[in-house]
């Protein structure tokens, strides 16, 4: 069996093993959906930035983007650090093509987690929070590629961070920078009050572009008034996310092979 197929199967078994633990399943599902629901109830009805779009609608793409971002860059590194501590990564090194199979497997579990998250938030948002479903096939296409490329942009880099973390508990340190980045990236609310420099820093990271791409897919064009350039900068989004994806994919296998597992 080729390494990709084997990795996909590995990821599927791994995910089933994880979901069969009811507590973990509950945390995974409840964590994002309940937070989303509470935010909608709290600030959902306020229009944003002089537009007719409500805060609830505006933050739905941001919420999905943040779920993708943190699954890739916070949850994944903690999983990899745990795999390293338990020796799962070392086992992979003893097997032919083991590291490749392992990486494909982990990417699969992350992708499944992200897909379930996106689906749950959309299922809740479209009928209940008044968020419109993507209006045209082109927008569905934008939704699809932004989710996929946005995932590819964070998964390999997450693997790199995971290989560098001293242990799974150190992963908690990643939550704070992620929150900070969420604030300065204008993910939940339009960013117009922030200094130019802060915005430029945010534009280096994938989160800003994941959120922008998802807004382009899910929000009406009337919200463009709140965007920096007043157009959807999708080409730039693809470039930045692509650069993160390629950089991570080059670095990750190389670093993981060198990780000391014992």
């Amino acid at each position: 069996m080729n390494a990709t197929m084997l990795g996909l199967r590995r990821g599927w078994i791994e995910q089933l093993n994880q979901w069969s633990d009811r507590k973990e399943l509950f945390n995974a599902v409840a964590g994002s959906v309940v937070t989303y629901g509470l935010l909608i109830l709290w600030i959902g009805d306020t229009p944003v930035g002089g537009t007719t779009v409500t805060a609830g609608t505006f933050m739905t793409p941001g919420f999905i983007a943040f779920a993708i971002f943190t699954t890739g860059l916070t949850a994944l590194p903690m999983l990899i650090a745990a795999d390293r501590e338990e020796g799962t990564l070392l086992r992979a090194r003893t097997l032919p093509r083991g590291i490749r199979v392992y990486l494909v497997g982990r990417a699969t579990t992350v992708l499944l987690t992200i897909l379930v998250n996106v689906a749950l938030v959309l299922a809740f948002a479209i009928p209940l929070a008044g968020v419109p479903a993507p209006a045209t096939p082109a927008r569905w296409f934008t939704l699809a590629w932004v989710v996929v490329l946005g995932t590819l942009a964070v998964v390999p880099v997450g693997a790199v961070i995971g290989s560098l973390l001293p242990g799974p508990k150190a992963g908690a340190m990643l939550a704070l920078p992620a929150m900070l980045l969420m604030v300065v990236s204008g993910v939940m609310l339009p960013l117009e009050t922030l200094p130019d420099l802060v915005r430029r820093i945010a534009e280096v990271f994938p989160l800003y572009w994941q959120a922008l791409g998802l807004r382009a897919a899910l929000l009406p064009d009337s919200v463009l008034a709140t965007e920096v350039a007043h157009v959807w900068r999708l080409g730039q989004a693809a470039t930045v996310l692509g650069a993160w994806a390629v950089g991570g994919m080059v670095l990750a296998p190389w670093l993981l092979r060198r990780v000391r597992g014992r």
């Binding site: 084997l6 199967r9 020796g87 086992r91 003893t94 199979v101 014992r262």
Partner: protein, 280 residues
């Protein structure tokens, strides 16, 4: 000789200024069970990790199955089996799922259910790895190490936590694999009885050097720990027990009452050897 599976010449390795291996030479032949003995910190683990291809930065000449482990690829790795000390990996996986998954990495793996039966794990096949007992977990590790039909098997302290029966079964399995399939085994252990039982040859590694290498009997001879001769009226230590016995026979003019000659055990030889190396 093309039946040399592992060949090491002048192997040196240092971590910073700490020299771990100081010129190691070894030859392992196909189908041989070879034991690496040595106190903690002697460099056993480093040596084995170099042979497994997990360490770089060494100097010297190392060939495992004809390739340099630091550069060899997946085709080479597929011919190796590795059983490390104290695995805890894949705790949430069920035993059979994990063994199937690992087997799928190889072109011609062993039958998973047969292997579970051979290692007495059939009843634990649907149990999660985390809840196995120490001995069961160890047997799973061995199963994972041999499921790909390796040509070389690295075993690090394999029978820790085995009960005597499981240990015996394991020894029989290893002997059978070596004899029937030409499996070459490099065993590291602290258990001298195990080394004596399984090995064709034993190498003693102390402070980064191979002090001696040979059969258990040769090892005992190499150190020349004295034999102990005991009889009804006395006892003494000698390097020439046969000569002493002859002397006693002549003194008694016939059978010597309560005559007992004890040659040094492997353990005594080993401890003597380490002691000697330390005081040198």
């Amino acid at each position: 000789m093309n039946d040399v599976v592992i060949r090491v010449r002048g192997l040196r390795m240092a971590y910073g200024s700490v020299r771990v291996l100081e010129g190691v030479d070894l030859d392992l032949r196909r189908g041989e069970v070879f034991t690496l003995l040595g106190p903690n910190g002697a460099g056993k683990t480093t040596l084995v990790e170099i042979l497994e291809g997990f360490r770089t930065g060494w100097t010297g000449e190392v060939s495992v199955l004809g390739e340099n482990p630091a550069r060899a690829g997946d085709a080479w790795r597929a011919r190796l089996g590795v059983v490390l000390q104290s695995w805890r990996d894949h705790p949430r996986w069920r035993v059979r799922d994990l063994l199937r998954h690992v087997a799928a990495h190889y072109d011609d793996p062993r039958d998973v259910d047969d292997l579970l039966a051979v290692l007495g794990l059939t009843e634990s096949a649907d149990v999660r790895a985390a809840v196995l007992s120490g001995g069961q977990r160890r047997r799973l590790d061995v199963a994972l190490g041999i499921v790909g039909r390796p040509e070389v098997l690295f075993l690090d302290e394999p029978t820790t936590g085995f009960d005597p029966e499981a240990r015996r079964e394991f020894h029989l399995l290893i002997e059978r694999l070596a004899a029937e399939e030409g499996l070459t085994v490099l065993l590291t252990t602290h258990d001298l009885a195990e080394a004596e039982r399984l090995s064709g040859r034993i190498a003693v590694l102390v402070a980064g050097r191979v002090l001696t290498c040979g059969s258990p009997a040769e090892l005992a001879r190499a150190v020349q720990a004295p034999s102990r001769v005991r009889w009804a009226e006395g006892e003494l230590e000698t390097d020439d027990p046969s000569g002493v016995a002859w002397e006693l026979h002549r003194r008694y003019g016939g059978p010597v009452p309560g005559l007992e000659i004890r040659r040094p055990t492997l353990e005594e030889s080993y401890l003597d050897l380490i002691e000697e190396a330390r005081t040198r």
